[in-house]
Symmetry: C2
Subunit: 175 residues, 2 copies
């Protein structure tokens, strides 16, 4: 139910192919919602049937042709209606935290390594967010179109910084 809307949100930015969308869900919007390519291709079919997206084949030479989807007026209306529905609670699933709950029953060395790995991931993600901020939002006030994206980015930065602090403190205490 929500994947379809997340896709429509992506398409408000620009028309995209299934492949583009898959990459988008791996980077940009991937911080808030995940999707794999089989899911996306399956969902695009449904969105087309409902008339929320229109598609057109883009002929490329050399590379395989792309099927590019655009959001329709009906799609925009559906998006606005959805935005009035109450939001669900944020869903978090984290292996690492689950393991931490049973600290006496897991492999300590493995856990330490896993936390190190996680620390690295969060540091890299933070760097990437800083880079996006500098490139995209460096010049003063963002336009109203970009305000939401900037605020999302700020949450992401804060989130990663929190994790980094936490990982470092945990690694100290685990010895």
């Amino acid at each position: 139910m929500a994947l379809s809307h997340a896709i429509l949100v992506c398409l408000t930015e620009r028309p995209m192919s299934g492949y583009d969308l898959a990459k988008f869900f791996d980077t940009s919007i991937g911080f808030f919602w995940r999707a794999t390519h089989p899911q996306i291709y399956r969902e695009m079919k449904k969105l087309g049937e409902k008339g929320y997206v229109t598609s057109s084949e883009e002929i490329q030479s050399g590379k395989p042709n792309r099927i590019v989807y655009s959001i329709s007026q009906a799609g925009r209306r559906a998006l606005k209606e959805w935005s009035r529905e109450p939001v669900g609670p944020p869903l978090i699933k984290d292996d690492l935290l689950v393991r931490l709950q049973a600290i006496e029953h897991v492999d300590r060395d493995a856990l330490r390594q896993q936390i190190c790995g996680r620390l690295k991931v969060h540091k890299e993600q933070l760097e990437q967010y800083f880079h996006i901020r500098d490139v995209r939002f460096s010049d003063g006030e963002p336009g109203p179109e970009d305000l939401g994206k900037l605020m999302g980015l700020e949450l992401g930065i804060q989130y990663e910084q929190g994790w980094i602090t936490w990982c470092e403190s945990v690694l100290k205490r685990l010895g």
Copy 2:
């Protein structure tokens, strides 16, 4: 694959019935992993077949009988093996952040209300975490058994505080 291990983690704390587990996934461990009761009853069957849990019926007068599950030695071994496998990235899915990405295409008033609602949820969660910390971890250094839980709690506190700060700043900017 991971739900079964999350259940085993719960059972290292104490033996529980399906009903207990469902409540546990709604509160305590629910911050890191979610599960509904049909999922739990279905999974318990599999865990029993694999010999990772043993069950016994507890006769109650008045209330319906409880089927209480305990983790077996094989279950503990499976848990330890699992703990050596690499952790996946944390999975986040958040409706609200998705909507924020398309801020120009959603209902502003609804969004403002949804953020207010979210702020309230995070404040309540934070209060609950403080309460747990005070009740369970007030007296100095925690035992090694509880260290992981305390660290998880600290992450939760930090996480909720971050959200509260962010919501307040966003509400100001949305006017």
